[in-house]
Symmetry: C2
Subunit: 462 residues, 2 copies
């Protein structure tokens, strides 16, 4: 049980925020959940700051009163990042949603953290530019920075790691720090930007982000093709990457996921493993990429190559791919899902995926598999009845086996979803006790009171 | 004056290393210099470890005896990184020069830190792969990690920030930590890899690095073209980048640098500002890039487009470009150089470069300018007589004006050379006292005794 917030603290919050503060049970409960299967852990109050100055004031106030802070964006975490483990104050940053600067000449945009990826791309439409990072959800830029998000375009355009130029953060002391300037590269001291990217809200509050934009490609083609079995699809991807084809997207969708997509998005793809491709470049460049990929696909038994050349057909295709999470939930109404996130060197991808498919068959779980396979990253979305403990145990056991398999292949327990509450044990296996100890020391050095999103990434100092 | 090393400490070092330890004055002096103009600051002993185990033993021994450690690669730093400010033991890592693993399927190589970039590329020649990061010197991979190096290919392939997959480091406690696994991406906790990339030896010793390799392009073309004045050249580059042409190299060389190159490398280029380009891709892809760039060049008054299509002609061209540092030194025999390293958003590049050229004319200094201008980064190599204090003052004053100009344009004081001893004041201006304080706290958390390359990046805690 969390100690109640002091009346003085609440008074000062109200003074600062007026009706942009809520202590209502319903609002707190809503902010105590995300897309993970953890029990709700509600904060005791929710604040909607609208400026850096307000965030500074809130952080200082919380520090003074020893109140934990949980930053909150779209609430689309799959790993429990936004759950208020120790109660306290949740900072909902969705009202900090202004685009502060567009610099098309420098291919950068400076944003408040509550801007969502779709809102950013809508604002860029007339500029001939786009922002490529696309996790499934319409996440906020702040949340995407905090979890080091990626998505379907990462194989060509990189992840948030490569696409954040600098951040403005409010430190646990209430100081405002710019982690870098707006130059494309810098060798000026420790890489504070990359330290905050992926820090899951545990080192401070991101209040501004400058991100890299990319010119819209002159020409785009998308295609899907079916494979008789998983191995052929994955071997195709591995060869495409090894040949250096600059494919923009390269997604694996297994037969179960295709069934879900067909039903949810009114498509009629054959129920077998598929690859979804997208190619960006000049007309001639795309043609060359397509020719190479078609030949590799044919060599590996791929068939039913279907093109989506018009913007509408492409949108329909990628919309369907992005909705696979929700489509899958419809395969078993009322279910919850537990989603794995292993990522391995691509030379090990086929083995990892096929062995996992074998596990799945044995487990009896319904579980579509999709993957950003150009990066060696794939997800198993296990659909479970959260009132059935044996299903939860089976799903967790499968996840554990998969993570151990990925680690044994020199891979990671999380390609893009983060550690949150869920994978803290795996993190220790992945970077060792000494590696986690370095992280813990950094946390303690920046946040000695342990108030910033406590309990995430690793357990606090013993 | 540094306190003498204790006889016990030296005995234990000798026991461990035999003749791979030296306390000779000449050897220590040689390790107390680099390419910067600082007075030599020699260590009191130099060790040549050959394994991670030996580095662990040395770090523990130094810790036990309170002896500072300076890691040392090729000694090609321009900012005093390898100078032993507080004496102690220099770890010369050049005998850790094995390539531990090549994984062509995953496009990675795992290396000991003493492997140089040229040695790596020689080993990759038969694999159809290459490693793109190319600082002027034939630096070691360990040193390149430690300074977050880049070079002429960064505009397309990124810097060490983007091209290091993981590191094995020996921490100041003597623990061995792998900062990540070998997957292309990961969201597993704090980005320890990026923390050590650019940490300048202050957080631990890099004993292994896994780096990203790239497929050799199917087709390569290089070209030089001359411009009547600086502005036309820079505007050309800005437009090339903004149009998203995936140019592989895009280098600015001013008239003075051309004069140096002509003399040093027996070329006969007209003595005016030049751009050096390289294009990578398929035959058709390169043709397209070339057509676009030729049109932009013509629009900006460029002329004398000269092609270097054969590998030999290309090598000669880039060899000349890479040797510009040494070529420039020949312009004024016996001189030393002070090299600036500003990097700005490319929309500000033309202004920054032209204003700096004006400064240079006023200063009367001989100072060729070259730049990785696709990244907004350029160098002024001021040739000074280090026995003439007024020249040193003039050079430092020009550097200071340039750094302030770059900062006022939202740029950085160092694109790729690092902070070292030279730019600690500028770092404070760049990220603020609060930003440097975060770095200092991280340093203190990982190295409370302050023995790892002391005195670099920032002054220690007051």
């Amino acid at each position: 049980m969390n100690p109640p917030l002091s009346p003085t603290f609440l008074d000062r919050l109200r003074e600062l925020l007026g009706d942009r503060l809520s202590t209502s049970e319903a609002v707190c409960l809503q902010h105590g959940r995300d897309e993970s299967i953890f029990e709700a852990m509600p904060p005791q109050a929710v604040a909607w700051p609208t400026s850096t100055e307000e965030v500074v004031a809130l952080v200082k106030l919380c520090r003074e009163h020893g109140v934990p802070i949980t930053p909150y964006g779209a609430g689309s975490s799959l790993e429990g990042h936004t759950l208020a483990v120790r109660g306290g104050l949740t900072l909902n940053l969705q009202r900090m949603e202004r685009i502060l600067a567009l610099n098309p000449e420098d291919l950068t945009a400076t944003l408040q953290p509550g801007v969502t990826r779709k809102a950013l791309n809508a604002a860029l439409r007339d500029q001939g530019l786009f922002f490529p990072i696309d996790p499934g959800a319409d996440a906020t830029i702040g949340g995407m920075c905090a979890t080091r998000a990626s998505g379907t375009n990462a194989v060509r355009y990189g992840t948030m790691r490569e696409n954040v130029v600098n951040l403005r953060v409010v430190t646990p002391d209430g100081e405002v720090v710019d982690t870098a300037r707006r130059a494309r590269k810098s060798a000026a001291g420790y890489d504070l930007t990359r330290l905050f990217v992926g820090s899951e809200g545990t080192l401070g509050v991101i209040v501004e982000a400058t991100v890299r934009l990319h010119p819209l490609p002159e020409h785009v083609m998308a295609a899907v093709c079916a494979f008789p079995e998983v191995h052929g699809a994955i071997d195709t991807v591995v060869q495409v990457i090894q040949m250096g084809v600059p494919v923009a997207r390269c997604e694996f969708v297994d037969a179960v996921a295709i069934r879900a997509i067909n039903a949810f998005s009114q498509l009629a793809l054959p129920e077998s493993p598929h690859l979804f491709f997208e190619f960006h470049g000049s007309q001639a460049g795309v043609k060359e990429q397509v020719e190479v990929v078609e030949a590799i696909v044919a060599d590996h038994g791929g068939q039913d190559f279907q093109w989506a050349a018009t913007p509408e057909a492409r949108s329909r295709l990628w919309e369907a791919r992005h909705n696979v999470y929700f489509a899958a939930l419809q395969l078993r109404p009322g279910c919850r899902s537990i989603v794995t996130d292993a990522c391995v060197p691509i030379s090990r991808l086929a083995d990892c995926l096929v062995q996992t498919a074998d596990d799945l068959r044995e487990s009896g779980l319904i579980a579509p598999m999709v993957g950003h396979v150009g990066d060696g990253n794939f997800h198993v979305q296990m659909l479970v009845d959260d009132a059935a403990p044996h299903e939860l145990r089976a799903a967790e056991a499968l996840n554990e086996r998969l993570v151990r398999r990925a680690l044994s292949m020199d891979g990671t327990c999380t390609g893009e979803h983060g550690i949150g509450l869920h994978k803290q044990g795996f993190l220790v296996e992945e970077v060792g006790a000494a590696g986690v100890d370095l992280m813990r020391r950094i946390k303690h050095a920046l946040d000695p009171a342990g108030l910033m999103n406590p309990g995430k990434v690793f357990a606090p100092h013993a």
